[in-house]
Amino acid sequence: MATEILTGIASDEPIGEPPWLRAVRRLVRRPTAMIGVAVIVLFILAAVAAPLLAPYDPLATNWAAVRKAPSAAHLFGTDEIGRDVLARIIWGGRASLLAGLVSVMLALALGVPVGLVSGYVGGILDGTIMRLIDAMLAIPFLILAIALAAFLGPSLTNAMIAIGITQMPIFARLTRGQVLSVKHEDYVEAARAVGNPQYRIVLRHIFPNIVPPLLVQATLATATAIIAEASLSFLGLGQQPPTPSWGSMLNTAKNFMTQAPWMAIWPGLAIFSLVLSLNLFGDGLRDALDPRRE
Protein backbone atom coordinates (compact mmCIF):
# COMPACT_ATOMS: atom_id res chain seq x y z
CA MET A 1 0.00 0.00 0.00
CA ALA A 2 2.74 2.40 0.93
CA THR A 3 4.65 1.72 -2.26
CA GLU A 4 1.53 2.44 -4.25
CA ILE A 5 0.97 5.79 -2.63
CA LEU A 6 4.53 6.86 -3.13
CA THR A 7 5.08 5.76 -6.66
CA GLY A 8 1.51 5.60 -7.96
CA ILE A 9 2.01 2.30 -9.75
CA ALA A 10 1.22 -1.22 -8.75
CA SER A 11 4.21 -2.81 -7.14
CA ASP A 12 4.11 -6.01 -9.14
CA GLU A 13 4.42 -4.37 -12.54
CA PRO A 14 7.84 -4.37 -14.12
CA ILE A 15 8.84 -0.77 -14.60
CA GLY A 16 10.62 -0.98 -17.90
CA GLU A 17 8.04 -2.77 -20.09
CA PRO A 18 6.64 -1.08 -23.23
CA PRO A 19 3.40 0.87 -22.63
CA TRP A 20 1.29 -1.23 -24.96
CA LEU A 21 2.22 -4.42 -23.12
CA ARG A 22 1.36 -2.77 -19.84
CA ALA A 23 -1.98 -1.75 -21.30
CA VAL A 24 -2.75 -5.26 -22.50
CA ARG A 25 -1.79 -6.68 -19.12
CA ARG A 26 -4.13 -4.27 -17.34
CA LEU A 27 -6.89 -4.99 -19.80
CA VAL A 28 -6.63 -8.71 -19.33
CA ARG A 29 -6.99 -8.28 -15.61
CA ARG A 30 -10.39 -6.64 -16.00
CA PRO A 31 -13.09 -9.31 -16.24
CA THR A 32 -15.78 -7.08 -17.74
CA ALA A 33 -13.50 -5.99 -20.54
CA MET A 34 -12.60 -9.59 -21.27
CA ILE A 35 -16.25 -10.63 -21.39
CA GLY A 36 -16.80 -7.74 -23.75
CA VAL A 37 -13.99 -8.88 -26.03
CA ALA A 38 -15.26 -12.44 -26.02
CA VAL A 39 -18.77 -11.42 -27.04
CA ILE A 40 -17.49 -9.07 -29.75
CA VAL A 41 -15.31 -11.79 -31.21
CA LEU A 42 -18.25 -14.18 -31.09
CA PHE A 43 -20.44 -11.79 -33.07
CA ILE A 44 -17.72 -11.14 -35.62
CA LEU A 45 -17.13 -14.85 -36.12
CA ALA A 46 -20.86 -15.49 -36.47
CA ALA A 47 -21.20 -12.72 -39.03
CA VAL A 48 -18.23 -13.93 -41.05
CA ALA A 49 -19.42 -17.54 -40.93
CA ALA A 50 -23.02 -16.59 -41.75
CA PRO A 51 -23.36 -18.74 -44.87
CA LEU A 52 -22.24 -21.79 -42.90
CA LEU A 53 -24.03 -20.99 -39.67
CA ALA A 54 -27.48 -19.81 -40.75
CA PRO A 55 -30.04 -22.64 -40.84
CA TYR A 56 -32.04 -21.04 -43.67
CA ASP A 57 -31.72 -18.48 -46.42
CA PRO A 58 -32.53 -15.17 -44.69
CA LEU A 59 -34.51 -14.04 -47.73
CA ALA A 60 -36.53 -17.22 -48.21
CA THR A 61 -40.21 -16.45 -47.70
CA ASN A 62 -42.75 -19.04 -46.67
CA TRP A 63 -46.43 -18.09 -46.73
CA ALA A 64 -47.40 -21.08 -44.63
CA ALA A 65 -45.05 -20.22 -41.77
CA VAL A 66 -45.90 -16.58 -41.18
CA ARG A 67 -45.16 -15.32 -37.64
CA LYS A 68 -44.64 -18.71 -36.11
CA ALA A 69 -43.40 -18.91 -32.50
CA PRO A 70 -39.96 -20.37 -31.80
CA SER A 71 -39.92 -24.13 -32.35
CA ALA A 72 -37.54 -26.92 -33.24
CA ALA A 73 -37.71 -26.02 -36.91
CA HIS A 74 -37.25 -22.30 -36.33
CA LEU A 75 -35.29 -21.71 -33.13
CA PHE A 76 -36.05 -18.00 -33.03
CA GLY A 77 -39.41 -18.18 -34.77
CA THR A 78 -40.39 -16.67 -38.12
CA ASP A 79 -41.16 -13.12 -39.18
CA GLU A 80 -44.05 -11.41 -40.92
CA ILE A 81 -43.51 -13.10 -44.29
CA GLY A 82 -42.29 -16.43 -43.06
CA ARG A 83 -38.53 -15.92 -42.97
CA ASP A 84 -36.43 -17.58 -40.27
CA VAL A 85 -35.52 -15.06 -37.58
CA LEU A 86 -32.32 -16.82 -36.45
CA ALA A 87 -30.96 -16.77 -39.99
CA ARG A 88 -31.82 -13.09 -40.27
CA ILE A 89 -30.16 -12.33 -36.94
CA ILE A 90 -26.93 -14.03 -38.06
CA TRP A 91 -26.93 -12.32 -41.46
CA GLY A 92 -28.21 -9.11 -39.91
CA GLY A 93 -25.12 -9.10 -37.74
CA ARG A 94 -23.13 -8.40 -40.88
CA ALA A 95 -25.14 -5.27 -41.61
CA SER A 96 -25.04 -4.01 -38.03
CA LEU A 97 -21.35 -4.75 -37.53
CA LEU A 98 -20.57 -3.23 -40.90
CA ALA A 99 -22.62 -0.18 -39.97
CA GLY A 100 -20.64 0.20 -36.79
CA LEU A 101 -17.20 -0.42 -38.25
CA VAL A 102 -17.55 1.40 -41.55
CA SER A 103 -19.08 4.53 -40.08
CA VAL A 104 -16.37 4.73 -37.43
CA MET A 105 -13.65 4.17 -40.00
CA LEU A 106 -15.16 6.90 -42.12
CA ALA A 107 -15.27 9.16 -39.09
CA LEU A 108 -11.63 8.37 -38.36
CA ALA A 109 -10.56 8.80 -41.97
CA LEU A 110 -12.23 12.21 -42.08
CA GLY A 111 -11.71 13.40 -38.53
CA VAL A 112 -8.13 12.43 -37.73
CA PRO A 113 -6.45 14.17 -40.68
CA VAL A 114 -8.58 17.24 -40.09
CA GLY A 115 -7.63 17.25 -36.43
CA LEU A 116 -3.95 16.68 -37.18
CA VAL A 117 -3.77 19.48 -39.68
CA SER A 118 -5.82 21.82 -37.57
CA GLY A 119 -3.79 21.21 -34.42
CA TYR A 120 -0.39 21.26 -36.03
CA VAL A 121 -0.83 24.21 -38.37
CA GLY A 122 -2.79 26.37 -35.98
CA GLY A 123 -3.69 29.95 -36.78
CA ILE A 124 -6.65 30.97 -38.89
CA LEU A 125 -6.99 27.58 -40.53
CA ASP A 126 -7.30 26.00 -37.11
CA GLY A 127 -9.80 28.64 -36.05
CA THR A 128 -12.03 28.14 -39.08
CA ILE A 129 -11.93 24.38 -38.94
CA MET A 130 -12.74 24.37 -35.25
CA ARG A 131 -15.75 26.64 -35.79
CA LEU A 132 -17.03 24.23 -38.41
CA ILE A 133 -16.44 21.33 -36.03
CA ASP A 134 -18.19 23.20 -33.25
CA ALA A 135 -21.11 23.85 -35.57
CA MET A 136 -21.43 20.16 -36.36
CA LEU A 137 -21.22 19.27 -32.68
CA ALA A 138 -23.83 21.86 -31.80
CA ILE A 139 -26.46 20.09 -33.86
CA PRO A 140 -27.83 17.11 -31.90
CA PHE A 141 -26.26 13.98 -33.29
CA LEU A 142 -29.38 12.07 -34.27
CA ILE A 143 -30.98 15.10 -35.87
CA LEU A 144 -27.94 15.66 -38.04
CA ALA A 145 -27.89 11.97 -38.94
CA ILE A 146 -31.59 12.04 -39.85
CA ALA A 147 -31.16 15.14 -41.99
CA LEU A 148 -28.15 13.60 -43.75
CA ALA A 149 -29.81 10.24 -44.24
CA ALA A 150 -32.97 11.86 -45.59
CA PHE A 151 -30.77 13.93 -47.87
CA LEU A 152 -28.89 10.91 -49.19
CA GLY A 153 -31.83 8.54 -49.37
CA PRO A 154 -32.80 5.53 -47.26
CA SER A 155 -30.25 2.75 -47.54
CA LEU A 156 -27.68 1.08 -45.32
CA THR A 157 -24.78 2.66 -47.19
CA ASN A 158 -26.21 6.12 -46.85
CA ALA A 159 -26.95 5.52 -43.18
CA MET A 160 -23.30 4.55 -42.67
CA ILE A 161 -22.14 7.67 -44.47
CA ALA A 162 -24.53 9.83 -42.46
CA ILE A 163 -23.40 8.33 -39.15
CA GLY A 164 -19.74 8.52 -40.15
CA ILE A 165 -19.99 12.18 -41.05
CA THR A 166 -21.88 12.93 -37.84
CA GLN A 167 -19.19 11.27 -35.72
CA MET A 168 -16.29 12.91 -37.51
CA PRO A 169 -16.21 16.08 -35.36
CA ILE A 170 -15.56 14.13 -32.18
CA PHE A 171 -12.48 12.50 -33.63
CA ALA A 172 -11.30 15.75 -35.14
CA ARG A 173 -11.54 17.53 -31.84
CA LEU A 174 -9.93 14.67 -29.93
CA THR A 175 -7.05 14.47 -32.37
CA ARG A 176 -6.51 18.19 -32.32
CA GLY A 177 -6.50 18.23 -28.52
CA GLN A 178 -3.87 15.54 -28.41
CA VAL A 179 -1.79 17.24 -31.05
CA LEU A 180 -1.89 20.51 -29.14
CA SER A 181 -0.79 18.87 -25.91
CA VAL A 182 2.04 17.03 -27.59
CA LYS A 183 3.14 19.72 -30.02
CA HIS A 184 5.47 21.45 -27.66
CA GLU A 185 6.93 18.43 -25.91
CA ASP A 186 10.68 18.20 -25.85
CA TYR A 187 11.05 15.34 -28.28
CA VAL A 188 8.93 17.07 -30.87
CA GLU A 189 10.92 20.27 -30.51
CA ALA A 190 14.04 18.21 -30.83
CA ALA A 191 12.80 16.56 -33.99
CA ARG A 192 11.98 19.94 -35.45
CA ALA A 193 15.36 21.32 -34.47
CA VAL A 194 17.09 18.46 -36.20
CA GLY A 195 15.28 19.48 -39.39
CA ASN A 196 12.71 16.74 -39.84
CA PRO A 197 10.04 17.55 -42.46
CA GLN A 198 6.60 18.43 -41.03
CA TYR A 199 4.81 15.33 -42.17
CA ARG A 200 7.47 13.14 -40.65
CA ILE A 201 7.15 14.89 -37.32
CA VAL A 202 3.41 14.46 -37.40
CA LEU A 203 3.46 10.84 -38.41
CA ARG A 204 6.38 9.54 -36.42
CA HIS A 205 6.27 11.60 -33.27
CA ILE A 206 2.81 12.98 -32.75
CA PHE A 207 0.60 10.33 -34.21
CA PRO A 208 1.65 7.39 -32.01
CA ASN A 209 0.77 9.40 -28.92
CA ILE A 210 -2.76 10.02 -29.96
CA VAL A 211 -3.56 6.43 -30.84
CA PRO A 212 -4.62 5.33 -27.32
CA PRO A 213 -7.43 7.86 -26.77
CA LEU A 214 -8.50 7.44 -30.40
CA LEU A 215 -8.74 3.69 -29.89
CA VAL A 216 -10.94 4.14 -26.85
CA GLN A 217 -13.15 6.66 -28.61
CA ALA A 218 -13.38 4.47 -31.69
CA THR A 219 -14.60 1.52 -29.66
CA LEU A 220 -17.23 3.61 -27.94
CA ALA A 221 -18.16 5.26 -31.22
CA THR A 222 -18.77 1.86 -32.80
CA ALA A 223 -21.29 1.17 -30.06
CA THR A 224 -22.99 4.50 -30.72
CA ALA A 225 -22.96 3.84 -34.46
CA ILE A 226 -24.70 0.51 -34.10
CA ILE A 227 -27.46 2.08 -32.06
CA ALA A 228 -27.60 4.98 -34.51
CA GLU A 229 -28.12 2.55 -37.40
CA ALA A 230 -30.92 0.89 -35.45
CA SER A 231 -32.46 4.30 -34.75
CA LEU A 232 -32.28 5.39 -38.37
CA SER A 233 -33.78 2.07 -39.47
CA PHE A 234 -36.52 2.53 -36.90
CA LEU A 235 -37.43 5.74 -38.69
CA GLY A 236 -37.26 4.02 -42.07
CA LEU A 237 -33.96 5.57 -43.13
CA GLY A 238 -31.50 2.69 -42.80
CA GLN A 239 -31.26 -0.79 -44.24
CA GLN A 240 -34.20 -1.47 -46.50
CA PRO A 241 -35.99 -4.79 -46.92
CA PRO A 242 -35.58 -7.55 -47.79
CA THR A 243 -31.93 -7.54 -46.64
CA PRO A 244 -31.84 -7.92 -42.87
CA SER A 245 -30.24 -5.64 -40.29
CA TRP A 246 -31.09 -5.70 -36.61
CA GLY A 247 -32.39 -2.15 -36.70
CA SER A 248 -34.72 -2.71 -39.64
CA MET A 249 -35.89 -5.97 -38.09
CA LEU A 250 -36.88 -3.96 -35.00
CA ASN A 251 -38.63 -1.45 -37.19
CA THR A 252 -40.85 -4.13 -38.70
CA ALA A 253 -41.22 -5.99 -35.42
CA LYS A 254 -42.68 -3.02 -33.57
CA ASN A 255 -45.97 -3.57 -35.42
CA PHE A 256 -46.21 -7.12 -34.14
CA MET A 257 -45.15 -6.69 -30.52
CA THR A 258 -48.19 -8.47 -29.12
CA GLN A 259 -48.67 -11.19 -31.73
CA ALA A 260 -45.06 -12.07 -32.42
CA PRO A 261 -42.83 -10.63 -29.68
CA TRP A 262 -39.93 -12.88 -30.69
CA MET A 263 -39.52 -10.74 -33.82
CA ALA A 264 -38.49 -7.86 -31.60
CA ILE A 265 -36.82 -9.65 -28.70
CA TRP A 266 -33.96 -11.27 -30.62
CA PRO A 267 -32.76 -8.25 -32.63
CA GLY A 268 -33.10 -6.07 -29.54
CA LEU A 269 -31.07 -8.53 -27.49
CA ALA A 270 -28.47 -8.79 -30.23
CA ILE A 271 -28.01 -5.03 -30.38
CA PHE A 272 -27.95 -4.81 -26.61
CA SER A 273 -25.31 -7.49 -26.10
CA LEU A 274 -23.00 -6.25 -28.82
CA VAL A 275 -23.27 -2.63 -27.76
CA LEU A 276 -22.83 -3.46 -24.09
CA SER A 277 -19.75 -5.52 -24.91
CA LEU A 278 -18.28 -2.68 -26.94
CA ASN A 279 -18.94 -0.27 -24.08
CA LEU A 280 -17.36 -2.61 -21.53
CA PHE A 281 -14.35 -3.15 -23.75
CA GLY A 282 -14.05 0.56 -24.40
CA ASP A 283 -14.21 1.43 -20.71
CA GLY A 284 -11.66 -1.25 -19.93
CA LEU A 285 -9.42 0.04 -22.67
CA ARG A 286 -9.64 3.55 -21.31
CA ASP A 287 -8.64 2.39 -17.86
CA ALA A 288 -5.85 0.24 -19.21
CA LEU A 289 -4.38 3.00 -21.34
CA ASP A 290 -4.59 5.71 -18.72
CA PRO A 291 -1.04 6.20 -17.44
CA ARG A 292 -2.20 7.78 -14.22
CA ARG A 293 -4.25 4.96 -12.85
CA GLU A 294 -3.60 1.56 -11.39
Binding site: D134, I146, G268, N279
Partner: protein
Protein backbone atom coordinates in the same frame (compact mmCIF):
# COMPACT_ATOMS: atom_id res chain seq x y z
CA UNK B 1 -10.45 36.24 -17.62
CA UNK B 2 -12.37 38.97 -19.41
CA UNK B 3 -10.41 38.49 -22.60
CA UNK B 4 -11.09 34.77 -22.35
CA UNK B 5 -14.80 35.46 -22.02
CA UNK B 6 -14.93 38.03 -24.79
CA UNK B 7 -13.03 35.78 -27.11
CA UNK B 8 -15.37 32.89 -26.43
CA UNK B 9 -18.43 35.04 -27.01
CA UNK B 10 -17.01 36.39 -30.22
CA UNK B 11 -16.46 32.87 -31.49
CA UNK B 12 -20.17 32.12 -31.19
CA UNK B 13 -20.90 34.13 -34.30
CA UNK B 14 -18.87 32.15 -36.83
CA UNK B 15 -20.02 28.91 -35.24
CA UNK B 16 -23.66 29.85 -35.58
CA UNK B 17 -22.99 30.99 -39.11
CA UNK B 18 -21.68 27.55 -39.99
CA UNK B 19 -24.64 25.93 -38.24
CA UNK B 20 -27.03 28.02 -40.28
CA UNK B 21 -25.25 27.15 -43.51
CA UNK B 22 -25.17 23.48 -42.63
CA UNK B 23 -28.80 23.11 -41.74
CA UNK B 24 -30.06 25.42 -44.47
CA UNK B 25 -28.08 23.46 -47.04
CA UNK B 26 -29.26 20.12 -45.76
CA UNK B 27 -32.87 21.18 -45.76
CA UNK B 28 -33.01 22.98 -49.06
CA UNK B 29 -31.08 20.29 -50.86
CA UNK B 30 -33.28 17.51 -49.54
CA UNK B 31 -34.66 15.52 -52.43
CA UNK B 32 -38.31 15.99 -53.02
CA UNK B 33 -40.13 19.15 -53.90
CA UNK B 34 -41.63 20.59 -50.72
CA UNK B 35 -44.43 22.09 -52.74
CA UNK B 36 -45.52 18.72 -54.06
CA UNK B 37 -45.09 17.07 -50.68
CA UNK B 38 -47.22 19.73 -49.03
CA UNK B 39 -49.78 20.17 -51.78
CA UNK B 40 -51.78 17.28 -50.44
CA UNK B 41 -53.08 14.23 -52.17
CA UNK B 42 -54.78 16.06 -55.03
CA UNK B 43 -51.51 17.68 -56.12
CA UNK B 44 -53.35 20.41 -57.97
CA UNK B 45 -50.80 22.15 -60.23
CA UNK B 46 -52.30 25.53 -59.33
CA UNK B 47 -51.76 24.87 -55.65
CA UNK B 48 -48.21 23.66 -56.24
CA UNK B 49 -47.42 26.80 -58.23
CA UNK B 50 -48.96 28.94 -55.51
CA UNK B 51 -46.90 27.28 -52.79
CA UNK B 52 -43.72 27.59 -54.80
CA UNK B 53 -44.34 31.28 -55.26
CA UNK B 54 -45.43 31.98 -51.71
CA UNK B 55 -42.43 30.30 -50.13
CA UNK B 56 -39.93 31.54 -52.69
CA UNK B 57 -39.05 28.00 -53.68
CA UNK B 58 -38.04 29.06 -57.16
CA UNK B 59 -35.62 31.73 -56.03
CA UNK B 60 -31.90 30.97 -56.18
CA UNK B 61 -30.43 29.40 -53.06
CA UNK B 62 -28.24 32.28 -51.88
CA UNK B 63 -31.23 34.60 -52.05
CA UNK B 64 -33.37 32.21 -50.01
CA UNK B 65 -30.58 31.96 -47.45
CA UNK B 66 -30.34 35.72 -47.24
CA UNK B 67 -34.11 36.00 -46.82
CA UNK B 68 -34.05 33.47 -44.03
CA UNK B 69 -31.13 35.03 -42.17
CA UNK B 70 -32.69 38.46 -42.48
CA UNK B 71 -35.88 37.04 -41.00
CA UNK B 72 -34.02 35.43 -38.13
CA UNK B 73 -32.31 38.71 -37.33
CA UNK B 74 -35.75 40.29 -37.06
CA UNK B 75 -36.97 37.46 -34.87
CA UNK B 76 -39.07 35.91 -37.63
CA UNK B 77 -38.15 32.28 -38.01
CA UNK B 78 -40.61 31.64 -40.80
CA UNK B 79 -43.70 29.53 -40.64
CA UNK B 80 -44.62 25.90 -40.87
CA UNK B 81 -45.94 25.26 -44.36
CA UNK B 82 -47.90 22.30 -43.14
CA UNK B 83 -50.01 24.00 -40.47
CA UNK B 84 -49.33 27.65 -41.24
CA UNK B 85 -48.16 28.62 -37.79
CA UNK B 86 -45.06 30.68 -37.02
CA UNK B 87 -42.07 28.51 -36.15
CA UNK B 88 -41.38 30.70 -33.15
CA UNK B 89 -44.83 29.97 -31.71
CA UNK B 90 -44.42 26.25 -32.28
CA UNK B 91 -41.08 26.34 -30.51
CA UNK B 92 -42.33 28.27 -27.48
CA UNK B 93 -45.16 25.78 -27.24
CA UNK B 94 -42.92 22.73 -27.34
CA UNK B 95 -39.85 23.90 -25.51
CA UNK B 96 -41.33 23.52 -22.03
CA UNK B 97 -42.42 19.99 -22.87
CA UNK B 98 -39.01 18.80 -23.98
CA UNK B 99 -37.50 20.91 -21.22
CA UNK B 100 -39.52 19.07 -18.63
CA UNK B 101 -38.65 15.72 -20.17
CA UNK B 102 -34.98 16.61 -20.25
CA UNK B 103 -34.99 17.85 -16.68
CA UNK B 104 -36.70 14.72 -15.36
CA UNK B 105 -34.38 12.55 -17.41
CA UNK B 106 -31.39 14.42 -16.04
CA UNK B 107 -32.60 13.93 -12.47
CA UNK B 108 -33.06 10.23 -13.06
CA UNK B 109 -29.67 10.04 -14.72
CA UNK B 110 -28.05 11.77 -11.77
CA UNK B 111 -29.91 9.58 -9.32
CA UNK B 112 -28.63 6.47 -11.07
CA UNK B 113 -25.30 7.64 -12.41
CA UNK B 114 -23.75 9.58 -9.56
CA UNK B 115 -24.10 6.96 -6.82
CA UNK B 116 -23.03 4.32 -9.33
CA UNK B 117 -19.95 6.33 -10.22
CA UNK B 118 -19.02 6.92 -6.58
CA UNK B 119 -19.45 3.26 -5.64
CA UNK B 120 -17.50 2.12 -8.68
CA UNK B 121 -14.65 4.53 -7.98
CA UNK B 122 -14.41 3.77 -4.29
CA UNK B 123 -14.44 0.07 -4.94
CA UNK B 124 -12.21 0.31 -7.97
CA UNK B 125 -11.07 -3.00 -9.34
CA UNK B 126 -13.49 -5.14 -7.38
CA UNK B 127 -16.65 -6.97 -8.40
CA UNK B 128 -18.67 -4.00 -7.17
CA UNK B 129 -16.92 -1.78 -9.65
CA UNK B 130 -17.60 -4.12 -12.54
CA UNK B 131 -21.17 -4.87 -11.49
CA UNK B 132 -22.14 -1.27 -11.00
CA UNK B 133 -20.42 -0.15 -14.19
CA UNK B 134 -22.23 -2.79 -16.15
CA UNK B 135 -25.59 -1.90 -14.62
CA UNK B 136 -25.15 1.77 -15.50
CA UNK B 137 -24.00 0.91 -19.00
CA UNK B 138 -27.06 -1.11 -19.86
CA UNK B 139 -29.00 2.13 -20.33
CA UNK B 140 -26.53 3.23 -22.95
CA UNK B 141 -26.56 -0.10 -24.73
CA UNK B 142 -30.26 -0.64 -25.09
CA UNK B 143 -32.01 1.00 -28.04
CA UNK B 144 -34.27 3.52 -26.33
CA UNK B 145 -37.16 3.10 -28.73
CA UNK B 146 -37.19 -0.64 -28.08
CA UNK B 147 -37.12 -0.13 -24.33
CA UNK B 148 -39.92 2.40 -24.68
CA UNK B 149 -42.22 0.04 -26.54
CA UNK B 150 -41.49 -2.77 -24.08
CA UNK B 151 -42.29 -0.50 -21.15
CA UNK B 152 -45.53 0.63 -22.77
CA UNK B 153 -46.61 -2.94 -23.29
CA UNK B 154 -45.79 -3.84 -19.71
CA UNK B 155 -46.95 -0.86 -17.72
CA UNK B 156 -49.80 0.41 -19.84
CA UNK B 157 -51.31 -2.52 -21.62
CA UNK B 158 -50.65 -5.40 -19.24
CA UNK B 159 -50.65 -3.65 -15.86
CA UNK B 160 -52.68 -0.57 -16.69
CA UNK B 161 -50.61 1.55 -14.32
CA UNK B 162 -49.40 4.27 -16.62
CA UNK B 163 -50.81 6.03 -19.67
CA UNK B 164 -49.40 4.60 -22.89
CA UNK B 165 -48.63 7.87 -24.55
CA UNK B 166 -49.47 11.49 -24.79
CA UNK B 167 -48.77 14.48 -22.65
CA UNK B 168 -50.82 16.36 -20.10
CA UNK B 169 -49.64 19.84 -19.23
CA UNK B 170 -48.60 20.30 -15.58
CA UNK B 171 -50.88 23.32 -15.37
CA UNK B 172 -53.80 21.08 -16.27
CA UNK B 173 -53.03 18.20 -13.92
CA UNK B 174 -49.68 17.72 -12.24
CA UNK B 175 -50.44 14.11 -11.37
CA UNK B 176 -51.37 13.19 -14.94
CA UNK B 177 -48.39 15.09 -16.21
CA UNK B 178 -45.99 13.13 -14.07
CA UNK B 179 -47.69 9.85 -14.97
CA UNK B 180 -47.27 10.52 -18.67
CA UNK B 181 -43.64 11.57 -18.20
CA UNK B 182 -42.39 8.79 -15.95
CA UNK B 183 -41.69 6.20 -18.64
CA UNK B 184 -40.20 8.51 -21.27
CA UNK B 185 -38.04 10.24 -18.65
CA UNK B 186 -36.81 6.89 -17.43
CA UNK B 187 -36.00 5.69 -20.94
CA UNK B 188 -34.14 8.89 -21.70
CA UNK B 189 -32.42 9.18 -18.32
CA UNK B 190 -31.24 5.61 -18.50
CA UNK B 191 -29.11 6.35 -21.51
CA UNK B 192 -27.56 9.45 -19.99
CA UNK B 193 -26.92 7.72 -16.66
CA UNK B 194 -23.99 5.83 -18.12
CA UNK B 195 -22.32 9.06 -19.13
CA UNK B 196 -22.86 10.47 -15.65
CA UNK B 197 -21.45 7.33 -14.10
CA UNK B 198 -18.35 7.52 -16.26
CA UNK B 199 -17.75 11.18 -15.48
CA UNK B 200 -18.27 10.61 -11.77
CA UNK B 201 -16.09 7.52 -11.63
CA UNK B 202 -13.32 9.20 -13.59
CA UNK B 203 -13.40 12.31 -11.48
CA UNK B 204 -13.60 10.44 -8.21
CA UNK B 205 -10.72 8.16 -9.09
CA UNK B 206 -8.66 11.18 -9.92
CA UNK B 207 -9.54 13.00 -6.72
CA UNK B 208 -9.10 9.92 -4.55
CA UNK B 209 -5.50 9.66 -5.56
CA UNK B 210 -4.64 13.30 -4.81
CA UNK B 211 -2.52 14.58 -1.98
CA UNK B 212 -5.13 16.08 0.23
CA UNK B 213 -7.31 12.99 0.16
CA UNK B 214 -4.29 10.99 1.21
CA UNK B 215 -3.68 13.55 3.90
CA UNK B 216 -7.27 13.27 5.11
CA UNK B 217 -6.92 9.51 5.24
CA UNK B 218 -3.61 9.74 6.98
CA UNK B 219 -5.23 12.03 9.55
CA UNK B 220 -7.45 9.11 10.41
CA UNK B 221 -10.77 10.50 9.20
CA UNK B 222 -13.47 7.91 8.51
CA UNK B 223 -13.57 6.83 4.87
CA UNK B 224 -17.17 7.97 4.30
CA UNK B 225 -16.28 11.41 5.55
CA UNK B 226 -13.29 11.53 3.22
CA UNK B 227 -15.39 10.51 0.27
CA UNK B 228 -18.35 12.72 0.84
CA UNK B 229 -16.82 15.87 2.12
CA UNK B 230 -13.51 16.08 0.36
CA UNK B 231 -13.53 13.94 -2.69
CA UNK B 232 -17.09 14.48 -3.84
CA UNK B 233 -17.02 18.23 -3.75
CA UNK B 234 -14.03 18.35 -6.01
CA UNK B 235 -15.22 15.58 -8.25
CA UNK B 236 -18.50 17.37 -8.84
CA UNK B 237 -16.84 20.20 -10.72
CA UNK B 238 -15.87 18.26 -13.81
CA UNK B 239 -19.08 16.24 -13.60
CA UNK B 240 -21.27 19.32 -13.68
CA UNK B 241 -19.36 20.86 -16.54
CA UNK B 242 -19.26 17.66 -18.54
CA UNK B 243 -22.99 17.22 -18.01
CA UNK B 244 -23.57 20.34 -20.02
CA UNK B 245 -22.18 18.48 -23.00
CA UNK B 246 -24.73 15.73 -22.44
CA UNK B 247 -27.42 18.22 -23.35
CA UNK B 248 -26.84 17.29 -26.96
CA UNK B 249 -27.21 13.63 -26.13
CA UNK B 250 -30.42 14.41 -24.27
CA UNK B 251 -31.91 16.06 -27.30
CA UNK B 252 -30.83 13.23 -29.59
CA UNK B 253 -32.39 10.73 -27.25
CA UNK B 254 -35.52 12.84 -26.97
CA UNK B 255 -36.09 12.56 -30.72
CA UNK B 256 -36.98 8.89 -30.64
CA UNK B 257 -38.41 8.85 -27.13
CA UNK B 258 -40.92 11.54 -28.05
CA UNK B 259 -41.77 9.63 -31.20
CA UNK B 260 -42.56 6.43 -29.34
CA UNK B 261 -44.44 8.07 -26.47
CA UNK B 262 -46.12 10.69 -28.68
CA UNK B 263 -44.87 13.60 -26.62
CA UNK B 264 -45.38 16.89 -28.47
CA UNK B 265 -41.90 18.24 -27.89
CA UNK B 266 -38.94 19.46 -29.89
CA UNK B 267 -37.77 16.02 -30.96
CA UNK B 268 -41.07 15.01 -32.47
CA UNK B 269 -41.43 18.43 -34.06
CA UNK B 270 -38.14 18.03 -35.89
CA UNK B 271 -38.60 14.46 -37.09
CA UNK B 272 -42.06 15.18 -38.46
CA UNK B 273 -40.79 18.34 -40.08
CA UNK B 274 -37.94 16.53 -41.84
CA UNK B 275 -40.32 13.95 -43.30
CA UNK B 276 -42.91 16.55 -44.24
CA UNK B 277 -40.26 18.75 -45.81
CA UNK B 278 -41.35 21.54 -43.47
CA UNK B 279 -37.93 23.06 -43.77
CA UNK B 280 -38.58 26.31 -41.94
CA UNK B 281 -39.37 24.34 -38.80
CA UNK B 282 -36.23 22.20 -39.06
CA UNK B 283 -34.01 25.20 -39.67
CA UNK B 284 -35.52 27.18 -36.83
CA UNK B 285 -35.39 24.39 -34.29
CA UNK B 286 -31.84 23.32 -35.16
CA UNK B 287 -30.58 26.90 -35.03
CA UNK B 288 -32.13 27.34 -31.63
CA UNK B 289 -30.86 24.08 -30.16
CA UNK B 290 -27.39 24.78 -31.55
CA UNK B 291 -27.45 28.18 -29.93
CA UNK B 292 -28.59 26.68 -26.62
CA UNK B 293 -25.85 24.06 -26.81
CA UNK B 294 -23.17 26.65 -27.50
CA UNK B 295 -24.39 28.83 -24.63
CA UNK B 296 -24.46 25.86 -22.26
CA UNK B 297 -20.92 25.01 -23.23
CA UNK B 298 -19.86 28.56 -22.61
CA UNK B 299 -21.49 28.58 -19.18
CA UNK B 300 -19.92 25.23 -18.37
CA UNK B 301 -16.48 26.48 -19.37
CA UNK B 302 -16.91 29.61 -17.29
CA UNK B 303 -18.16 27.57 -14.35
CA UNK B 304 -15.20 25.27 -14.65
CA UNK B 305 -12.76 28.12 -14.54
CA UNK B 306 -14.58 29.90 -11.74
CA UNK B 307 -15.14 26.87 -9.55
CA UNK B 308 -11.74 25.32 -9.99
CA UNK B 309 -9.39 27.21 -7.73
CA UNK B 310 -6.35 25.69 -9.36
CA UNK B 311 -7.08 27.19 -12.73
CA UNK B 312 -7.73 30.73 -11.65
Amino acid sequence: MTTFLLRRIALIVPTLFFVSLLIFGLQQLLPGDPAIALAGEDRDPAVIAFLRQKYHLDDPLPMRYALWVEGVARGDLGESIRIKRPVFDLMTEKLPVTGELALMALLIALAIGLPAGIIAAVNNGTVMDYGVSMAALWGLSIPNFWLGILLILLFSVELGLLPASGFVSPTESLKQNLLTMVMPAFVLGNAIAAGMMRHMRSAMLQVLSTDFVRTARAKGLPEIWVILRHALRNALIPVVTLSALDFGALLSGAVLTEQVFTIPGFGKLIVDAVFNRDYAVVQGVVLFTAFAYIMLNLIADIAYVVLNPRLR
